[in-house]
């Protein structure tokens, strides 16, 4: 009998696949997303659907332009990018923000570099920042949770740009805690006072606050992250080093000057730090490949995030911090190459005492 002669070793493969990985990440995002739908109602659902469909459509367009097989659409990366973008947006964003952002993320953020695996920056975060810089007003309009506009009303909010004030509720929009506290301190207020009067630890943890779709519930983000680590889609190195760094700096800062620097729990639970640490800072393509490199990446992002939050002009510290470290990834990769078996760090053979017997 003749067998099919084909293929180099190995002739076995573990059951993983690219689409499996992407779908697992999406699965881990389900709790956070469902919570966002519950808190922010129909408009959030529309924004989510818009982001995802626009991302997949842009992906298809790029594949067509670059004459690549459409089967790539099934790898799930377009879906994930759209989803990740949706979670960074204000839940009641107008439709063009969602569609434009998703198209930017896929086309400029990813396909221009040559498609999946080639980009330098996290596409969703890049699009988020591009949107923020281009359209600061809709991107900083945060609605209060649990307003529940009706279905038609919601269509109006997302597609017709219906003025939010028409809803008739007072204090519908406002700033997130991060932005708010910054303004408060800058206006001469005491951070400690802000913490006691405005910040609610349990609300931040469980997720009753203004914010983007994904940033409100620290608990559910943590849950998703734990699931990813459990399934070994991500390792602990980046998220824990990032969170640890921010925590450490927060403790030091707060100890040094409690009036100006927010305490630990505020830093960890607000502004989507946990979501960012587990879902955005762990993007395979744009982060280092070695374990030590990942730890460096985490620490670097942590320092940047804390610095931007404490001294920077934008409240979007997580996105900026991660993007800046994305740019450093190739460098980190170069300096943290694993040591090769039988060689020292410089790449020379390790020294040994020869066991050769003396031949008289």
């Amino acid at each position: 009998m003749n067998g099919p002669v084909r293929g180099a070793s190995p002739h076995a493969h573990d059951p993983s696949g690219v689409s499996m990985i992407m779908l697992q990440v999406c699965l881990a995002l389900v709790p956070v997303t469902t919570w966002a739908f519950y808190l922010f109602g129909w408009p959030a659902v529309f924004v989510w659907i818009l982001c995802i469909s626009a991302a997949i459509a842009s992906e298809a367009l790029s594949l067509w332009l670059m004459q690549q097989p459409y089967s790539r659409l099934l790898d799930g990366s377009g879906l994930l990018t759209g989803w990740l973008l949706a979670l960074t947006l204000p839940p009641w964003s107008p439709w063009w923000v969602a569609v434009g952002g998703a198209a930017f993320a896929i086309i400029i953020g990813k396909q221009i570099y040559g498609g999946i695996g080639q980009n330098i920056f996290n596409p969703a975060l890049l699009a988020r920042i591009a949107l923020l810089i281009s359209f600061p007003v809709p991107l900083t309009t945060w609605v209060a949770p649990q307003l529940y506009p009706g279905f038609m009303e919601s269509l109006g909010i997302v597609f017709a740009n219906a003025p939010l004030s028409e809803l008739g509720a007072d204090g519908v929009t406002g700033a997130t805690w991060l932005g708010d506290s910054k303004a408060f301190v800058r206006a001469g207020g005491d951070m400690q006072e802000y913490m006691t009067t405005s910040f609610s630890l349990s609300d931040a943890f469980f997720g009753y606050s203004r914010g983007s779709m994904g940033e409100v519930s620290a608990l559910l983000a943590l849950l998703g992250g734990a699931y990813l680590m459990y399934r070994r889609i991500i390792s602990w190195h980046i998220p824990l080093s990032l969170l640890g760094t921010v925590a450490l700096l927060a403790v030091i800062g707060h100890q040094a000057n409690a009036a100006a620097f927010a305490p630990l729990q505020f830093h960890l639970l607000s502004g989507g730090l946990i979501l960012g640490a587990f879902f955005y800072a762990t993007d395979y393509v744009t982060t280092p490949s070695s374990r030590s490199g990942q730890i460096l990446f985490g620490i670097g992002s942590g320092i940047l995030i804390y610095s931007i939050r404490s001294w920077g002009g934008f409240p979007e510290a997580v996105a900026f911090g991660i993007l800046m470290m994305n740019a450093l990834t190739p460098l980190i990769d170069r300096v943290t190459r694993p040591r090769v078996y039988g060689r020292n760090r410089q790449g020379n053979a390790i020294k040994h005492v020869s066991a050769q017997r003396r031949v008289n």
């Binding site: 003749n2 190995p10 076995a12 490949s289 694993p338 066991a355």
Partner: protein, 530 residues
Amino acid sequence: MLGLGRFRGGVHPKGHKEPTRVNSILTNPPLPPMLYLPLCQHSGDDALPLVSIGERVLKGQKIACADGRMSANVHAPTSGVIRDIRAITMPHPSGLPARAILLEPDGQEEWVELTPPADPYAIPQEELAGLVEEAGIVGMGGAIFPAAIKLRQGRRYEIKTLIVNGSECEPFLTTDDRLMCERAEEIIEGTKLVRHIIEAYRAVIAVEDNKPEAIAALKKAAEGIGSIEIAVVPARYPMGSAKQLIQAITGQEVPAGKRSNDIGVLVHNVATVYAIQQALVYGKPLISRITTVGGDCIRSPRNVEALLGTPVQYLFDVCGGLLETPSRLLMGGPMMGQVLPTTDTPMIKGSSGLLALTKREVNEHVPDPCIRCARCVNACPMGLLPLEMANGAKRDDFDAANDAGLKDCILCGSCAYVCPSHIPLVQYFEYAKGELRDRRAETDKLALTKTLTEAKTARVEAEKAAKEAAKAAKEAAKAAKAAKKKADAEKKAAAKKAAEEAAAATPPESAGVAGESTDQTILTQEEEQS
């Protein structure tokens, strides 16, 4: 620093070992109608046939003798008649033909007279190594490197640790496992013999922790015999790779470009050690081996102790035949084994397994682009950057691939096994290694041409010198007839010296040196999978 029993990276492939580990080894399957004995079942040159067509041979009779240092003898696995000596399809992915002796068994199983040493410990170790060489034993874990060379190498070094490799980390394969369960005493005896031959300080039999039965059997057999340790190592691929096993057992790394001898370690496979014991205690040459006939396509998979040269199809039939058309036929395990072009090819000394895998077991996919997930980096036991190496190979930038680690790659396949994009990384590496080898051969050729030219110049000069000497002698002779005798002697000496000089500069010598260095590289390469 990694603790003992550890090495970097590695993977945990699905074992698939249950179906064959539960059954005992099937010994003495019915004789096949014909045995196909390739003259090359080892890493060196073809052995030279010693028999002619039509000749009757006895079981264990030497029918082909080693040609050169890296070659190995071939013995008749049973008594019968030599029917032909011709090219057959080899168990190699290329499917290229190579010469083999066709032996038709006569069913008598008549042995040649075996002459084992009365007491192997009473004769010099060099001679023991000679007996191993005579028995045609090669590395049976798939390395097919002549065992005697390794023993002699071992004698030239001060070996602190002899490691007997019973880790068997390849999925599907259970030959070593069953061998250790059923023939533990022979393995212990073999280990003692090898230890004696190379005068190792310490002997360790390393077994992965997923083989509790084998561990128990070895421990029992080793009871009361000091100096042989049974080391239980964690089950992780590629624990069976010499470099990784050495690290796990001794905590030392083999320096790049060196061999395990250099750090005083020698690794032998358990099946090799068993064969050595059979040769030194019973005088039996290597004529059979245990092989795992497995994969989901086989109706009743199990380990079979079969005569060398038995056709693969015959062994499949012995195991109940095929249930479906295999998606892939393999010799060896799925991680490093070779594709068999056909089942009409014989089992040979290095066949640790014969697998007929289903599509599901192979799990092959169209490759996706790399997503830089770094799984390959974390899986690589050598600490390399498989994604960069593959990129280099893809661009035909072999130097970049080498820098990223290709030169240290042991082709274990861990990276390709975990790659979620199903990128055939090892295929890239093999391609790049092949290209680099060709390139090196090219430079070697240039170097050889250079030596040849230099040799020629030297010879010409030597001849000129000889002529001048002769001329001088002649003139001297002319000048003084009385000094004729002396002049004659001078002439002779000058000519002789010139001839010697010319001889010293001729290519055979330098070619010999080149051959030696090639052997060395092969040694290093082969060792990796002992």
